[in-house]
Amino acid sequence: MVENRPWANFFAHTVLIIGVALVVFPVYIALVASTQAPGELMRGTLPLLPGSHGLENYALMWQSGVSKANSTSAAQMLWNSFIMAMAITVGKLSISLLSAFAIVYFRFRFRMFFFWLIFVTLMLPVEVRIIPTFQVVADLNMLNSFAGLSIPLIASATATFLFRQFFMTIPEEMLEAARVDGAGPFKFFKDILMPLSVTNIAALFVIMFIYGWNQYLWPLLITTDPNYTTIVMGIQRMTSEENPQWHLVMAAVVMAALPPVLVILFMQRLFVKGLTETEK
């Protein structure tokens, strides 16, 4: 469309640059703070340019955490977060793929019942059933374990419905051809269905990984042992001390944010696909 309004373009770029600046601002401040010397932040105002203590702050955080007894190193906490996020992601994806496979490719009694049972989980986020769920996990002796951190979160109506929807779009003949070619349910699942679902699996993987990595309330409830502290939780513990060492806290913040942000930046297309399709 011919629309020659130089001022409009200028204005648009201005709006966007301000917008981006506001969005980036908190993280920039975190970066700046994480590079300051220990005492620098206590002097009243924060400098606006990075300091020179970045390396030592990150190294300290990585190796030993805030310098106190019973603190967990960031390396350990990042590892814990990674294990939890991967367990949740892989768990959600596998049980959802299996459920969707059953619902679409089999006819059996109570099919609708199971479908609705899975649907109901959409309406029961952890936040609304905190205490009884905690009690169940405690009764099962799953407190302070990776199983306890991940298994109660792996039921997924969203992923099941997404896979179900995707399976429904696969032509009928794909199954028929495979049956004529001698493939049973397992072969069909492994040789045909999984390869065809790769993009969907990857897109959901991105979303689920971020979901898992960012868990907060759940680990807070069921882990007390520092060996299971995840990075997101660990940061909260550091800030709730008497005099938080903000330069180290911010180094931890940057390290905690980096993995999921990198996932989004490098897999932006899959991320957008995953996000928009899970909400359909």
């Binding site: 003949e173 028929e176 051809a177 070619d181 001698g182 493939a183 040789d191």
Partner: protein, 367 residues
């Protein structure tokens, strides 16, 4: 290789919908049989029952001497070519062909050998490492055929395999399928709604309507002696004209229609049997007005309005029509070219002596 025998095959869907209402058919070993009929006549369902993709409600299905009613598709020793090809999009052409063999536990070198042979036969060797989406429609069709071929099955089942191709490719592939089947002599069952495809491909045709067989026979038998008004209308293009006997008599039949077979009240006339010049043989004379004419190259189709009637009627002549649209036209029909039917039953009423096209055909027309 094997014969296929269908005995009283029935398919009833939930809610008592009869899709296939009892089919008896014997397909000889090595024979090419085409199931033809309008959409919804049950031809695809019947084929899928043979393939094992639909359950059989009633009746017996034998491939060779084996009753296969309850067997999985993979256990029936058949191969199928699908209308949309159903190629596995994530596998190369090679793996598409090899998949069925792998699942049956063939040795690697045997798979390799069979795939190469089939690829050569179908001229798709150069595409073996490609994915299906990089192929044209015609090439995909060949891959679909290849997948059936490598298995060396007892029978090929084709479900409208050419209907996704453009007209030119369709003719080319039709010829290739026919040649391939002649060479391999594998029993084949082929479903189509295209009567021309059916006529040109099949050793025998099975004309289906509303879940039942209307007629089984060689293409020429069916063309020359359609057993029912449905078959008469379905096979041949333009379709056969149907004129009431009473009307023709009123137009002055001169006793030519007096000794038609018992029960005949309507006669069918193929558009090619309506001549613009009087033939030597005994014939009827009918007056009409030319309503519309279609030039189709070497021949023309004349849509005429009969005098004192609103029966739509088509005449096929070679070259141009002798009169302009809106002018009157007289045509002549040899008595031998009439197909006698009873309009109430829809059935053919016996034989007229000396029917033009038919000379020494057996009496297999009615079922």
């Amino acid at each position: 290789m094997a014969s296929i025998t269908l005995e009283g095959l029935k398919k009833t869907y939930a809610g008592n919908v009869d899709a296939v209402k009892g089919i008896d058919l014997h397909i000889e070993d090595g024979e090419f049989v085409v199931l033809v009929g309008p959409s919804g006549c049950g031809k695809s369902t019947l084929l899928r029952m043979v393939a094992g993709l639909e359950t059989i409600t009633e009746g017996t299905l034998k491939i060779g001497e084996r009753v296969v009613n309850k067997l999985e598709p993979a256990e029936r020793d058949i191969a199928m070519v699908f209308q949309n090809y159903a190629l596995y999009p994530h596998m190369t052409v090679y793996n598409n062909l090899a998949y069925g063999l792998k699942n049956r536990g063939f040795k690697k070198d045997e798979i390799e050998k069979r795939v190469r042979v089939a690829a050569k036969m179908l001229e798709i060797e150069e595409f073996l490492e490609r994915k299906p989406r990089k192929l044209s429609g015609g090439q995909r069709q060949r891959v679909a055929m290849g997948r059936a071929l490598v298995r060396e099955p007892a029978a090929f089942l084709f479900d409208e395999p050419l209907s996704n191709l453009d007209a030119k490719l369709r003719v080319q592939m039709r010829v290739e399928i026919k040649q391939l089947q002649r060479r391999l002599k594998t029993t084949s069952l082929y479903v189509t709604h295209d009567q021309l495809e059916a006529m040109t491909l099949g050793d025998r045709l099975v004309v289906l309507n509303a879940g039942q067989i209307e007629q089984v026979g060689t293409p020429m038998e069916i063309y020359a002696r359609p057993a029912t008004m449905f078959v008469a209308g379905f096979i041949g293009s333009p379709a056969m004209n149907m004129l009431p006997v009473a009307y023709l008599k009123a137009q002055g039949a001169n006793g030519l229609l007096d000794n038609l077979p018992e029960g005949t009240d309507i006669v069918g006339i193929r558009p090619d049997d309506m001549h613009l010049a009087p033939p030597a043989a005994p014939h009827l004379v009918v007056d009409s007005t030319l309503a519309l004419y279609e030039a189709a190259g070497a021949e023309s189709h004349l849509y005429v309005t009969l005098a004192d009637s609103d029966q739509p009627t088509v005449i096929r002549v070679s070259g141009q029509p002798p009169v302009a649209e809106g002018e009157t036209l007289r045509f002549f029909v040899p008595r031998d070219a009439l197909h006698p039917f009873n309009s109430a039953t829809g059935k053919r009423m016996g034989v007229l002596e000396n029917t033009a096209l038919e000379t020494s055909l057996g009496d297999t027309a009615n079922t």
